[in-house]
Structures are given as structure tokens and as C-alpha cells.
């Protein structure tokens, strides 16, 4: 794993992407810090992070798009398959290299609260708690981006997918506010989700029968539940959207509540997408 990690780190710094990524993060957090803390005299450093967190959907794709798509395109993935390494180690090595590149600017950013403290009363635990949350969210997004890179051999498509997923995630909270909270509309929304799930299942497994069974069973459960206990559906869909949004969980921390469930959620999302990346690579062997 350390071999992959070293190699990845080196190749990131061979190109321009790592520098671009770091410069981007530093520039935007710098701008928001000076706007909030120095211009508007706000002593809450976390507000700068809260306002600047949109940078993820711009800079994460830049960092992650190459990760696996490029290997596949250059056929160097053949080497990875033939080495005596498990795919888990390969994926972890690549992931850790990207996390390190993300951590470098974050370490620089971590000096900001100390600097601001010289000029006013910064409540450091809150500032660093938010910074940690910000970092964990970034790590989760890197895992998402890496998975997107593993499903295609075209870097641009990988970046596009990653951008799309992240930006939808960003606006998920806003969408949730506009969604009808009635039980019936939630029921319909869940129906649509089940159909989509069945279609995805069919595409991934190429097994029509199994996909149909999964779809029908879930749909029956959904209809049954709605018939007998429709109160469950009230406000269900908007809440679900909000719960799925990584940003919504991060904002809670920005508002001053150190929510450990958010930390667990980020780590889980990261783990799930790393697992999916390993599976995506393994699947190539069976294609």
C-alpha cells in the first residue's frame, strides 16, 4: 500500500492538478476569511468555512478525476491487477495520497483561527471543531469522486459526474424546503425512487428477473405501508433529502453544535464509496 501511496503522491505533484487544487482551497477560504473576519469583524471563523464550503464541488473533481480513469485509459491498471496487491490496498493507497494533498492546505488554514485570535475573541474549540468537520466532509467527497473516477475511463466524464453529485448534494437542503410534505407526495416520491433503484439494479446486475422481483417487493411494501399507516409518510421525503445531504449536517456544526452523528455520517459515506470503488475495480476483472 505504501508503494501505491508514494507513487500516487509523486504523480499528483508531477502534474499541475495538486497545486491547482491546493491553491483553489487556500484562495477561497482566504477570501471568505478576510471578508467575514477582517472586513465584517466577525470573530466566528466557522462562518468563513460555512460560506466557502461550496468550493468542494469545484475542486474535488479536479483532484479525483484522474485517480482511476487515467489508469484505465493508459492501461496501467493491468499492472495494478498483476501486482501481488489486493485492490483494497490499491484503492486505500490512492485515497490516502489524495487525503494528504487535501490535508496540506487544511493545515495552513488551521493557523487562521490563531491569527484571528490576536484581534478578537475567537472561541477556538468551535473553530477547530468546524475545521475538523470540514476536513471530514472533504475526505468523504474525495471518496465519492474516486468512485466516479472508477466507473469510466474518461477523466472529463468522471469530473462531470463528481461535480453533478456534489452540486446536487449541495442543493439537497434547499430542494427539501420546496418539496411537498404531504404523505401522498412522499409516497409518490418513494415510488419513483423504487423504480429508479430497480433500473439501476438491472443495469448493474444485468438480471431482469431479480431486478423485477426487488422492484415489486419494495413497491408492495411501500403500498402496504401507505395503506395501513400513511402517517409515516408525512414529511418523510423532505426529511430523507435533508438527512442525505452532507452539507446540511456540516451547517449544524457551523451553527455551533458539535454533532458527532455528522462525523459518523461522513466517515460512513467515505467508507461506503471506498468499498464501491474496490468493487468497481474488482468488477472489471469479471467483465
Amino acid at each position: 500500500m505504501s508503494a501505491i501511496f508514494r507513487h500516487e503522491l509523486r504523480s499528483h505533484f508531477h502534474g499541475i492538478t495538486a497545486y491547482l487544487f491546493m491553491a483553489f482551497i487556500l484562495a477561497f477560504i482566504g477570501i471568505y476569511t478576510s471578508l467575514y473576519c477582517f472586513k465584517a469583524y466577525v470573530t466566528n471563523f466557522e462562518y468563513a468555512l460555512g460560506a466557502g464550503c461550496f468550493i468542494f464541488f469545484i475542486c474535488i473533481p479536479i483532484l479525483t478525476m484522474k485517480a482511476i480513469a487515467e489508469e484505465r485509459k493508459q492501461k496501467t491498471d493491468q499492472l495494478l491487477y498483476s501486482l501481488p496487491l489486493s485492490m483494497t490496498k490499491v484503492v486505500l493507497g490512492k485515497y490516502l495520497a489524495m487525503v494528504v494533498i487535501f490535508t496540506i492546505p487544511m493545515l495552513i488554514v488551521s493557523l487562521y483561527p490563531l491569527i484571528i485570535k490576536n484581534y478578537g475573541g475567537v472561541w477556538l474549540p468551535e473553530a477547530y471543531g468546524t475545521l475538523l468537520c470540514f476536513w471530514l466532509m472533504g475526505c468523504a467527497f474525495i471518496a465519492v469522486g474516486m468512485f466516479m473516477s472508477s466507473v469510466t475511463e474518461n477523466q472529463a466524464i468522471a469530473a462531470g459526474f463528481c461535480f453533478l453529485v456534489l452540486i446536487i448534494n449541495y442543493f439537497l437542503g434547499t430542494f427539501a424546503n420546496y418539496v411537498n410534505t404531504s404523505a401522498r407526495s412522499s409516497f409518490y416520491a418513494v415510488c419513483v425512487c423504487i423504480v429508479l433503484l430497480a433500473i439501476v439494479w438491472w443495469i448493474v446486475t444485468k438480471n431482469e428477473l431479480l431486478a423485477a422481483i426487488v422492484g415489486v417487493v419494495l413497491m408492495a411494501a411501500n403500498v402496504g405501508l401507505f395503506k395501513f399507516k400513511s402517517s409515516l409518510f408525512e414529511g418523510f421525503f423532505p426529511t430523507l433529502l435533508e438527512k442525505l445531504s452532507l452539507y446540511e449536517r456540516f451547517y449544524v456544526t457551523v451553527d455551533g453544535v458539535l454533532d458527532l452523528t455528522a462525523f459518523v455520517f461522513f466517515i460512513t459515506i467515505g467508507g461506503v464509496f471506498l468499498y464501491l470503488t474496490v468493487q468497481s475495480l474488482e468488477k472489471r476483472r469479471y467483465s
Binding site: 508503494a3 501505491i4 509523486r10 502534474g15 492501461k75 496501467t76 493491468q78 501486482l83
Partner: protein
Amino acid sequence: MIEVKHLTKKYGNHEAVSDLSFTIEDGQVYGFLGPNGAGKSTTMNIMTGCLAATDGQVTIDGYDIFEDSAKAKALIGYLPEQPPLYMDSTPAEYLDFVARAKGIPAKELKAEVERVMEQTQITEMRDRLIKHLSKGYKQRVGIAQALLGNPKLIILDEPTVGLDPRQIIEIRELIASLGKEHTVVLSSHILSEVQAVCDNIMIISHGKMVAMGTAENLEDIFAGRTTVTLTADAGAEETEAILSVLPEDCGIDVKALETEGAPKCDAVITSSAEDPDAICRQVFFAFAKAGRALLKLGVERASLEDVFIELTGDQAQEAPAEAPDVSAEAQPSETEVDK
């Protein structure tokens, strides 16, 4: 030792490899020979654990390539058809990475990288970017990568494809020298190459093993097919009459030559007789008796090339849809290199 048992690989409904079984003994050079699309690369990818088989088993020195993949892969050095090189690194960096990934201890790392660079003669290119190297050098870096860790088995997929004739000779010499210390398996669609480098030849066509053995062995299989060619100082009809004394199982093909003056003709006699000399004697005396001169008389044994074309051609007849590909692709490339 590699044991391949009942290997099958399906892509959708297409069977790229079907029920392939063979054993590769230690210390020899093996060649996979077959036209393009015969399933050579697929087989090699499965043998090295890069691809999963639909059915069947591959064991390397008793370790299953999928169950004990780490142990099995540690015994193999593999160069895929397209050398898996990182274009933005130098050979030294690249080999350092692969050596670490193969788990070579840090102490021996440097010496090992130097050793393989020495062996493949890329030491002087060590600090150039791989993307700036010529194709021949890229191939050498690819082979160097396979040699790292001194694996027992070296598997090379089409190692000379796309190289110029001098580079081809150099790579072949390198392979021959590797064959002294390692078991080498290489694939090629070029017959003369396999014949020049390999002790053992496996001919694969449409995912099936159609023949296996040494070059001489394979020729022997077809040794029964003797072809006698002659040019006679007689007309076609007369020649046919003269040759009618030959045993009935001989195939006779007579062609009149367009000449001024006395008629001449060529004849090709194919026979399954054990002793080609007997046919020649009969032909000679038959013409002598008829008072006609033989201008030319020659015997040809089946060459490996005939075996190859015959074997892969047979397959082509079974699967008529793909027949043109087989002959069209297999033949020109051979002549290309023979030149």
C-alpha cells in the same frame, strides 16, 4: 509450473477461450501461437490474475491464482500487450515503484532495480521520461518491470509487436537469455518468432488448443504429408497417364505450362506414404519407361507454417463467419517479418 485446467472465458455469448487445459513445465520457453483474436491475450490475462475466468482453474506452483493470488502473483512477472507504463515518470522511478509494490525489501531495492536495468540495457535511459523513449525502450522498461523480484515465471504478451526489425532481434535475444534462468511464456501471431525463440509451441485458435509440442514434433504430426513436385518434358495428359502407376491414395494435380515448342507441365503429388523416397523412385522410373525426361523433381516436408495454417484454417472452416479474418491476418504478418 503452471497448470491450467478447463479454462473457459465468455464475453456475453462469445466464448473467447473454451475449455483450455495445459501444463507449463519449469525451465523452458513456451510460445502461444495463434491468429489475432484467438484468445492468447485473454488466456494470459487469466493466468496472471488480471481477468477472472468464467470457468476453470489456474494454479502457479500449486497456488490458485484467485484463491492465493498474492503468493501466486509473486511468482509471476507479466508484461501485458500494451506495456503498463506511467508516461510521466522515468524508468528509474517507475521501476522503484513496481519493486516496492512487489514487496521487495528496502535494502535490496536499489540493487534489484539496477540489476533489471542492466539486464534489459536501459541503464542509460534511467532518468529520461518514459513518454520520450522509443517504442523499443518502452518495451524494455516493460520487460524490466516483469523481471523485478526475479520471478520464476515470465509471461510476455506479444513482446515484439510494433518494433522495428533490429529491435525485434534484440528483444528476441533478450528473451532467449531470460529462458536460461526463468520459465518464459510468450505469445505471438508471428510464426517465425515462436519458432526461433521457443522450445515448446502451443497453437491456439478460436479459444481452443489445436496443437502442442516442440517445433519438430508439430512438423512430425504432418510429416506423413509429403508433397512431391515435378516438372516434366511431356504434355499434361501424357503426364497424367504416366503418373497413373502411383498408388491410388496419392493426390495428383497436373498443370500444363505455356511453352513454345515441346509441351511441358508441372505436377504436384501429395501422398501420405511414410517414405517420400519411394514415391520419387516410382515417379522417376515411370517417366524413364515412357521415355520422357524429368526436368525437376523435389520433395517438400510439411513446415511448421503449413501446420499453423492448416490447423487454424481447419478451425476457420468450422466457423465460416470468421474465416477470412484468420487467413488474412495470420499470413501477411508472417511474411512481413520474414523479409
